[in-house]
Symmetry: C2
Subunit: 313 residues, 2 copies
């Protein structure tokens, strides 16, 4: 594969190059570091928004409605639908594409499902790289939608600038979400399907839960929407823009991004170390023999391994 050509394509905003680059991330191909090096300097301008919540709360419809508002405001928009739990994109995500059909012919909207097939670090490492590709391709807004509310989804949501957590009556109960740690990563709460009975209860329960928590510099607002109508989506867009303005003005955006990048670098280094140890153990059959003969203990062997891969000063 010609990585230079791919990088040029991505930087020129060519949708086919962007799609191919994201596939490369999914597969964890060897060209990934070169791709990353080629695009990184052109990233950092996109606003990234996470969309997390239990299945059925209407995340895809909400994403579609947000795309509409953002397009009306003149933004180029990308939607990345991420399934961290499955190596293949399943029915739910194909369904998302169908619901996005109204944007299918708009050249300034890019929609893509994503799974991890070969990326060693899983979605937590693959998703940020895919987001950077979209950023480098010139999309002003990147919406990252996840399928559920597990730990992997929390990690993906926490890797966006503005994390929207979506609830709906009868779905995605706030107590469950608190257990999953998802409430803590929320910058904006959305109670969707506000026309349904029970929406007011969800909102009240959520407000109570939030009052129990610590106070923060940014207090996440709770908005109600009915994305199908659509109702409240303009207000949601305003809230997203307000959060972004606060991030920039308070200096939080840089701090948040730096912390995120450092975590990512740490995780990437750990993955590479894991590969290196596996290779070193494969090569050094003597370690196995010495362990079995009891002439070296596991802690000492681990130190020796670390020393072989990593002679510390």
């Amino acid at each position: 594969m010609d990585v230079d050509a791919l990088v040029m394509g991505v930087l020129a905003g060519d949708a086919r190059a962007v799609a191919r680059a994201i596939s490369l991330v999914e597969d964890g191909r060897a060209e990934l570091p070169a791709l990353s090096a080629g695009i990184y300097a052109s990233t950092g301008t996109a606003a990234t928004v996470g969309l997390t919540g239990a299945p059925g709360v209407g995340k895809s419809t909400l994403a579609g409605a947000l795309v509409r508002v953002a397009r009306a405001a003149g933004r180029r928009v990308a939607v990345l639908a991420v399934d961290p739990t499955s190596p293949y994109t399943g029915g739910a995500l194909l369904g998302d594409r169908v619901r996005m059909q109204e944007h299918a012919t708009d050249p300034d909207v890019f929609i893509r499902s994503m799974a991890t097939r070969g990326h060693l670090g899983g979605m937590a490492l693959a998703a940020p790289e895919a987001v950077r590709i979209l950023d480098a391709a010139g999309y002003d807004l990147v919406v990252v939608e996840t399928v559920g509310v597990g730990q992997a989804e929390v990690d993906v949501a926490a890797a966006t600038d503005t994390a929207l957590v979506v609830l709906a009556p009868g779905l995605g109960d706030a107590v469950q979400m608190a257990k999953a740690g998802i409430l803590e990563v929320a910058d904006v709460f959305v109670v969707n399907k506000a026309d349904r009975p029970g929406a007011a209860d969800v909102e009240r329960e959520l407000q109570q839960m939030l009052q129990l928590g610590a106070t923060h510099e940014w207090e996440p607002p709770v908005l109600t929407t009915s994305a199908i109508e659509p109702e409240g989506v303009e207000e949601l867009w305003v809230a997203v823009e307000r959060h972004r303005a606060w991030l920039v003005d308070s200096g939080t955006l840089d701090a948040k991004r730096t912390a995120r990048l450092l975590r990512e670098v740490e995780a990437l280094a750990a993955e590479r170390f894991k590969l290196a140890t596996a290779e070193a153990l494969e090569a050094g059959g003597d370690v196995a023999t010495r362990l079995l003969e009891r002439s070296v203990d596991p802690y000492a062997a681990a130190d020796a391994l670390l020393g072989r891969i990593a002679p510390q000063e």
Copy 2:
């Protein structure tokens, strides 16, 4: 803490030294590598038996019954009740101790609950070290009992020479266990509470499930017990001894232990690497700046980090 004295105490089979050494493992104390180095040469003689199954199948009663049979055969026995999911030993494990009371005054029986409070590698790394302490202290048989059937329990069970998987009517359904991957680590199956209605169904369902699987050199037998009576426990003991004889005669024991030790060394090295990267990132504030300025990309930063900790030839 005087590690040399502790090592001497463990090797002399002093129960108080053994208890203190296991606490040291639980807490992940800095003395751990020295303790490991001191005892490792004296390990490898104990037979280790895992006891895994859903809560309520009667693992503790079965462990007590096995202790009785093993004591009658003149063995010194240790029971390690492990809770991989909780940092503190909970009610279930305290309950186990009560059920073990008949052995409380026997100097050749050691019973201990274990949690991980500070060990970085979690129970998957702490449990094998605790087992080695008991091995070095001269216990001929070490029974490792887990509380449930999650991934952490599977890891702990897979770290014993002979893994018993326990089912009971109405509990620990074979399909669920198959999903958790626990059936694959089983060397002997036990259908406990055989006096209860439905025991024959559990056995049949299990046999069918096993016929679906691949054939192995060692075909795990399915035994039925009623540990409270007790009934079938002698036969279970015979099955455990038969499995051990097969392990030794076929050379599988050494192969199994070597593979296990290598996995452990790999995991220990990875933990240490994680610590080292965190320290290196803490120290090198320039990495954060360069990432934010986009003068280095995350993959290159990970490589640089790996290089700083580990200059590869």
